[in-house]
């Protein structure tokens, strides 16, 4: 049954990813097809997650692949908050293709099948994993917004004649959204980390590389907000920092996890 839901979800996201490329070339119908692809894919993936949850006795997404599956769902869900608006549609070009790749990876790692049980309590996992993943979904969305900012800024700088052909949010709106998304995601990460550390203290566990990278992530994004709101970093500098921050996290977190 899970297979029956996984493939349509992947197919719908895949269709959306291709349609977003079409939208960037010639706006109109491809954009609408892409939005519907994302909506359908997300609903089917929701059904897949519900099915996994109903068949599992504890928290179902404990493996890295399961976490990836849940992460993709959160990122796409966060995208849908803005992505359905015509002006923000192209954000999907930065979000959906990686989502397709990550969902396929999650499937290859067995994350779309029934989960194995762990020693951790379900409530702790739901809180800790849920909060940390929601925060990372926010950072990913902020990075996608930052990528869209840099792309649009480059087009404006180069004085592209087709600058008005593709509907993209204004630089000011993108710049603001990058900072606001991170400003919402960071407290979520803080809470997630607090729950994790609390459990470590109670159960007497030890700090590992993943914890260190998570704390470093918290430091990087705190630094981002300080520079953005304190030192007045805006525009290209702010967008580049958001993008570099996520890249660092995306590279170091898997290394820390598998090492």
């Amino acid at each position: 049954m899970a297979e029956l839901l996984f493939w349509p979800a992947l197919l719908a996201y895949g269709e959306a990813a291709v349609a977003f490329v079409g939208e960037a070339r010639r706006p109109g119908l491809p954009g609408r097809l892409a939005t519907w692809g994302v909506r359908i894919g997300w609903l089917v993936q929701t059904a897949l997650l519900v099915l996994q949850a109903s068949r599992s006795e504890g928290f179902p997404w404990t493996s890295w692949a399961g976490v990836l599956n849940l992460f993709v769902w959160l990122v796409v869900g966060a995208y849908l908050i803005w992505g359905c608006r015509a002006r923000f549609r192209l954000l999907g070009l930065a979000v959906i293709p990686p989502a397709v790749a990550l969902l396929a990876l999650a499937h290859a790692g067995g994350g779309t099948r029934a989960a194995r049980q762990t020693d951790y309590g379900s409530l702790f996992l739901a809180l800790h994993v849920g909060l940390v993943l929601a925060a990372f979904a926010g950072f990913t969305l902020a990075a996608a917004l930052a990528a869209l900012y840099l792309w649009q800024e480059r087009r404006l700088k180069r004085r592209a004649s087709g600058i008005l052909r593709v509907r993209v949010p204004s630089l000011a709106a993108l710049d603001d959204l990058v900072a606001r998304t991170i400003a919402v995601a960071l407290p979520t990460l803080t809470l997630g980390i607090a729950v994790g550390i609390g459990r470590l203290v109670v159960s007497g566990g030890s700090f590992d590389a993943v914890v260190a990278v998570t704390l470093a992530t918290w430091g990087v994004y705190t630094g981002f907000l300080v520079l953005r709101y304190g030192a007045g970093w805006r525009g290209r500098r702010s967008a580049s920092l958001a993008l570099v921050s996520l890249t660092l996290v995306a590279v170091t977190l898997p290394i820390a996890h598998f090492s």
Binding site: R159, L164, S170, A172, R234, S238
Partner: protein, 410 residues
């Protein structure tokens, strides 16, 4: 009922001919009233690019002759269209497909005004309402009217690309000529605020600043205001650069990373091209803006293809409605005859029905009326369909013959 269109437009007549028949609102209304005699309906659509007379009546030749006489000042530069072709033309006009700039938005309002001041009856009322609907639909379902069609509106659209909503954004104008004013008005119409007008001649700067609600400034002091400006529009006739990279670089220190858009409409250029290398500075000169406009106009033409199909569908719907008018008298006669028979038969049976209660009598009335309606429903629909397929008159004659309907119904 026949539709006649006689008119001239930018396709056929140069400005010196068009201006002879360009009627202000009151004159257009008076002309429509003068031509609409008896059963004739008339609407006069007069804009800077076209003057067209739409007439509807049973004698199209007379109507066309009267309209041609009213527009004789343009000589032979007149087009004459009838029925389907005339309706399709109006629908294309309303959608902006016949305009100089495809999809321009003003024409829809002008068609609405012409309709409101026209001497309309049921026919032109339907035609113009449907044309306005087609115009709105073409704009809503395509992007034909979304992109800018002039250099100054392209500048304003670019400002929106940088800042989003322009409400409260600060504009500095360099130059107080017509080009500056046009660009400024485009920005003001989108909510921006003109803060300063700088010009070599103080009088002209003051005059424009007063008109736009800003403050006049000597050209030499522009650098001081750059720290607060969001958009700088330059169109002076200065022989060299009015603003150099160093001036802007100095101002950027106080801006805390806020972007600034420079629009250079001057030839020779007022703004140092190296400004564009500075972080957060976006510079567009006349060539850049013209390239943007050319691209957006090409986009409008692509969208026009989609709009054409919307307009054609709407025109077809109108044609079907117009064709159905041919069978309306026959349908009305048929229904009248059926009702006459029903009433007469009920009257005959009155003695026998007298024993029925009030409620039972109402039921009998209702049942007989329903039988008549159901019997006539399909023939009515089929006759309208036949009318749309050009067989309407044949069907109408057959119905009259079969049911013995009076000659006066024709």
């Amino acid at each position: 009922m026949k539709l006649v269109l006689v008119g001239t437009s930018h396709h056929l007549a140069p400005l010196e001919l068009r201006e002879r028949v360009a009627f202000p609102r009151e004159q257009a209304a008076a002309l429509a009233r003068r031509l609409a005699r008896g059963e004739l309906e008339c609407v006069c659509l007069s804009t800077c690019n076209r003057t067209e007379l739409y007439l509807a009546g049973s004698d199209p030749d007379t109507a066309e002759a009267a309209a041609a006489t009213a527009l004789e000042a343009v000589g032979t530069a007149l087009y004459r269209l009838r029925d389907e072709a005339a309706a399709l033309h109006l629908f294309r006009v309303a959608a902006g497909l016949d305009s100089m700039v495809p999809g321009e938005g003003e024409i829809l309002g002008q068609v609405r005004t012409a309709y409101e001041i026209g001497a309309t009856g049921p026919f032109l009322d339907r035609l113009f309402r449907q044309a306005l609907h087609a115009g709105r639909k073409a704009r809503a379902q395509t992007a034909i009217g979304e992109s800018p069609a002039s250099v100054s509106s392209a500048g304003a659209a670019l400002a929106e690309q940088v800042f989003g909503e322009l409400r409260g954004r600060t504009i500095v104008l360099l130059g107080a000529g017509k080009v500056s004013e046009l660009a400024a008005r485009n920005l003001v119409s989108r909510g921006a605020r003109i803060a300063f007008v700088a010009n070599r001649t103080a009088d002209r700067a003051t005059a424009l600043a007063e008109r736009l609600g800003g403050e006049a400034l000597p050209l030499e002091r522009v650098g001081e205001q750059l720290a607060t400006a969001d958009v700088v529009v330059a169109s002076t006739s200065a022989p060299g650069y009015v603003l150099r990279r160093d001036d802007v670089e100095a101002a950027l220190r106080g801006r805390r990373g806020r972007p600034i858009l420079f629009v250079d409409l001057a030839v020779p250029r007022d703004l140092d091209p190296e400004i564009s290398d500075l972080d957060g500075c976006y510079l567009y000169d006349l060539d850049d803006l013209e390239a943007v406009v050319t691209e957006t106009l090409a986009g409008r033409r692509r969208e026009a293809e989609r709009a054409e199909s919307i307009v054609a569908t709407e025109a077809e719907r109108f044609r079907e409605w117009q064709a159905s008018l041919e069978v309306v008298p026959a349908i009305a006669s048929l229904r009248a005859r059926a009702e006459e028979i029903r009433t007469a038969e009920l009257a005959k049976a009155e003695a026998r029905l007298g024993r029925l209660t009030e409620g039972e009598l109402r039921t009998v009335e209702s049942v007989t009326a329903q039988i008549v309606n159901k019997l006539l429903h399909l023939p009515t629909v089929r006759m309208k369909q036949a009318a749309a397929a050009a067989d309407g008159v044949l069907y109408a004659d057959t119905v009259r013959h079969l049911f013995g309907l009076g000659e006066d119904d024709r």
